[in-house]
Amino acid sequence: MSSAALPSPASSGVGLRRALVRNSGALIAAVVLAILLFIVDWVSAGPLTYFDVSFLSSGGATSALAAIGQTIVILSGGFDLSAGAAISLVNVVLASSMDPMAPGASVILWTAAGIGVGMAVGAFNGFFIAVLRMQPIVVTLSTMFILQGVTLLVMDKPGGFVSPDLGTFYLGDAIANWLPMPLVVIGVVLLAWFWLKGTRFGTALYAVGSDADSAAAVGINVVLVRFAVYVIAGGCYGLAGVFISAQTGSGDPLVGNPLLLSMFAAVVVGGTRLGGGQGGPVGTVFGAYVLMIVVNILLVLNVSAYYSTIAEGTILVLAALAGSISHASVLAVQLRAARARVAAWRAGILPSQLERVDRRLKIARPSHDQRSEISPRPAFRLRNAETLRYALPAYVCLIIIVVVTQIWLGRTILNPGYWNSLLVLSTFLAVLALGQGTVILTGGLNLSVPWTIGISGIILAGMVNGSDAALVYALPTVLLIACAIGFANGFGIVYLGISPIVMTLATNGILQGCALLYSQGTPAGFSSPMLRWFMTARLGLVTPVVLLMVVFVIAAVLLLGRTPFGRRVYGIGNGLRAARMSGIGVERTLILVYMLSAVCAAIVGIMLTGFSGQASLGMGDDYLLPSIAVVVVGGALITGGRGHYLGMLGGVLLLTALQMLLAGTTLPYATRAILYGLVVLGAVMALRERRLQ
């Protein structure tokens, strides 16, 4: 826009190029979409007709609309896990309040109602995130649970009625045989976005996403911007909910939940950077359609069901790779760096080839002894004030939950069985917390946890097949496979420059396919007696695995707090460039981090196999979101660099104790979900960020 003000023709060329570079993400997503459309056209029997385009456009509209909202949140530096649940809520609210007897329904009225519900959800999120300065991921996770509960209270099973008038409007043609309505709806939302982007609010939004402190320093009302962002995003989810209601003509309390993960993939494939400040909803719309059209490609190519998740994962990686074809991409930079290293090696000037001489400047170094005399070591409380501030709340809440359990259910504090169960059930998440926590400390996220757990358990059970002797080779094999999985994740992220969310999401799909192929759909084998004994027997008062957990916790604390590896992890999380400049081998460290994460997931897979006595497909499905939640509840910062393993452990114990309390009651599931969300929200209230200066 600034270039348009300059009249000279030369600068308008520069402006065009800048606009291209700035929107490269969206452009590449558009090109990928065009290529995929071409493939569909080419391999399918007939040419693409208007009808094809029309139903393709309606197929991707819900996720495109919701992903636009998610994009705006991500641009502001946030994260919204409640999007899928908000869509479900809007769907059941519409389906349960429309009257099947009424002759017609007002499209405008019901659309407004849906958007209103979405905005109310957004305002709830926004209040806690903007006004109370809490971390978006944990607020929206709590909101997700609360909404799921509320949704089930509104409608506990699929049903209800949505007027066909809505369907006729939203799925019809804007201009007959030329322009389908879903594209118009998306277009209107995008136009509204362009208008918004041009206003002061739009500038403020990008500024807050790039650097909230600087934004506040130049006088932007960060609280207001953040609040508005969640409300606007909520409106988008609301519209998505209206759309899916129109499309399905009824209500289903579970309809929106599976949209969540693909929404993030759409955002990232569309060129928006997680963490904020870069990208925009246009790319996201293309991203959403790229992901959707994969369904059609799999259909026309007749890909076998077992291979479909593998194909999807591969397409996701390829789409992300296509997005990084440029001179400045990570892959290109890495290739250039490798060339430079080879050249240096030929010339014999690589640092490792040089003679090892101490080349440091001879400046008098202060002796450590003298120094400690001048300034004595501060007290433990002072030295660790920051860690304590973030780690303690989880433990305080844990104590409260245990006391409540004692009062409500009895037989708790003095019952060794309770504590043993708490620790055994916590082990899974405690181990995962190290893997997920370390990745989060570096600013990443590992979404391949579920099927790393699944495939590890399935391979182990298959190899062991009830024999203790087989453990000797089965355990190392499974751990080695996990190392390979982690290496693949790390390699893709570090050397191919694929964002962690996309890379690990793709790996998860590929692993799911591999697990299905390996097991042919029915996982064989069962755990050996020793493994079962380890997970379920009692040595006096405790189960053997509890002893392992104690060792594991000590090792984890030492690994993150007392080793060079741990310091490098924190260094990378606090600033990638600073870490690189200070000589940290960023690539090697990150790959190790993802390997650690995969190994932790594999250990959980092994332990779960021992605990259940067998492995099953999907055994890791319930561990993804909790593994992220405990890390954040334990005081870690989702953007990396801050957090302590003991804090995460507190988060694990807190959430497990809370689940045990709720399981002991006979409250309906909906109420439990709401309570769970509220308690998590309350527990992290103490983790509020300090007020911006």
């Binding site: 007939g46 393709l56 949704t151 099973k157 699929p158 076998s304 069901a305 099953s616 497909l617």
Partner: protein, 375 residues
């Protein structure tokens, strides 16, 4: 089609492709193009059902009639809508579908019906009137199992209930029907209730949570949609004798069926807890053959036979009195009344054993395990 070929670039490749399409089109002319749209295949039941559908399509009675293509929609109803649309577009004569949602597919299914495509839903239901449904009566499942348990307990005692996936019609109907039965017995109290997600692993975690503040001795019976096998293992670990195992109304997994055999029965490949324990059980399931039967009915419907819109499958119920071990697991053998399989043949105890139907002599154990039809 002609216009499409003209504008298509890469003339040579296009020509080859056209040849290939021409061939397959000629073959397909004799075969019925049928699609299977599955849900999430990451669990035992779905994988087993898929194997049985494939075996049915490969059976000699159907192999030269049916061109079956299998697609997976994942857990996402939105994707299934789009998938069904794409199937209609590519010329399906029938679509066999495991509906992710009973209501969300209504419009797309109606659209398919309008184009003359037969839509068959298996296991779960599609409420759109033009769809064919093949499933068991879930209310009956909840009622029969609850009545069995109430009788076993002589109408008195504390029970734990483990339900399925909240928000689904199947879970809602089973649980509601069971609770209505229990409500008739004022002395039966549900002291713990948890969401089991139809998974043995989840059932175990949830039971462990409930038992952290309770004792096995305070509990008299279990009603679970999935999890009796696990509950029995947990009781043994807690030091109970096999004769003290609580009565459990629950799923039809093969592990549970083997546990129902009288203790001491010689069974090849058995190892505790996947071994005969003489457990008091009623075992029921949504049978995984429903997809295969739906395919068979779909072919009949295409061929113009009269197929009822709703096929209610008989509820496969096995109790400790009717349990019988199979030798090989052929259809003929199951017809004679056997209903549990040796661990040496079925190594996964979570595998669903209710695979027998009078109406599907094409498929037996090999079909469910590896997708091989009977001779």
């Amino acid at each position: 089609m002609g216009i499409g070929l003209k504008v298509r670039p890469l003339a040579l490749l296009a020509g080859m492709a056209a040849c290939a399409f021409g061939l397959s089109a000629a073959q397909a002319a004799e075969k019925h193009k049928i699609f299977l749209s599955m849900s999430y295949i990451g669990n035992d039941w779905q994988a087993e059902a898929a194997n049985m559908v494939k075996a049915m399509a490969a059976h000699k009675s159907l192999a030269d009639k049916v061109d079956l293509q299998v697609q997976v929609a994942g857990p996402n109803a939105q994707r299934q809508i789009q998938q069904i649309n794409a199937m209609v577009q590519s010329g399906a004569e029938a679509i066999v579908v495991y509906p992710i949602s009973p209501t969300a597919l209504n419009q797309v299914v109606k659209n398919a019906c309008d184009k003359g495509v037969k839509v068959f839903a298996y296991d779960a239901e599609i409420t759109e009137p033009c769809a064919y449904n093949v499933h068991i009566d879930q209310l009956e499942a909840g009622r029969v199992t609850a009545e069995w348990l109430a009788k076993k307990l002589n109408g008195k005692g504390n029970i734990i209930a483990i339900t399925g996936v909240p928000g689904t019609s199947v879970d809602d109907q089973r649980t509601k029907a069971a609770k209505e039965v229990f409500a008739k017995y004022p002395d039966i109290k549900i002291v713990g209730e948890a969401v089991g997600m139809w998974s043995q692993a989840v059932a175990r975690t949830e039971l462990s949570k409930i038992l952290a503040t309770r004792n096995w001795d305070d509990i008299n019976g279990l009603w679970m949609q999935v999890g009796c096998f696990t509950a029995n293992s947990m009781q043994l670990e807690a030091g109970k004798k096999t004769s003290e195992l609580l009565p459990c109304a629950g799923e039809g997994s093969n592990g549970g069926r083997i546990q129902m055999l009288p203790e001491g029965t010689e069974v090849e490949g058995a190892a505790s807890p996947y071994a005969p324990l003489g457990a008091q059980r009623i075992s029921y399931a949504s049978p995984p053959y429903s997809g295969a039967l739906a395919l068979k009915l779909a072919v009949e419907a295409i061929e113009g036979k009269d197929v009822p819109k709703t096929t209610i499958l008989p509820l496969p119920v096995v109790t400790s009195e009717t349990i019988k071990l199979c030798d090989e697991g052929t259809w003929a053998e199951m017809k004679a009344g056997c209903n549990a399989f040796k661990p040496s043949l079925v190594s996964n105890p979570g595998w669903f054993a209710s695979i027998f139907s009078d109406q599907t002599p094409e498929i037996g154990l090999a079909a469910a395990l590896v997708g091989q039809p009977e001779e």
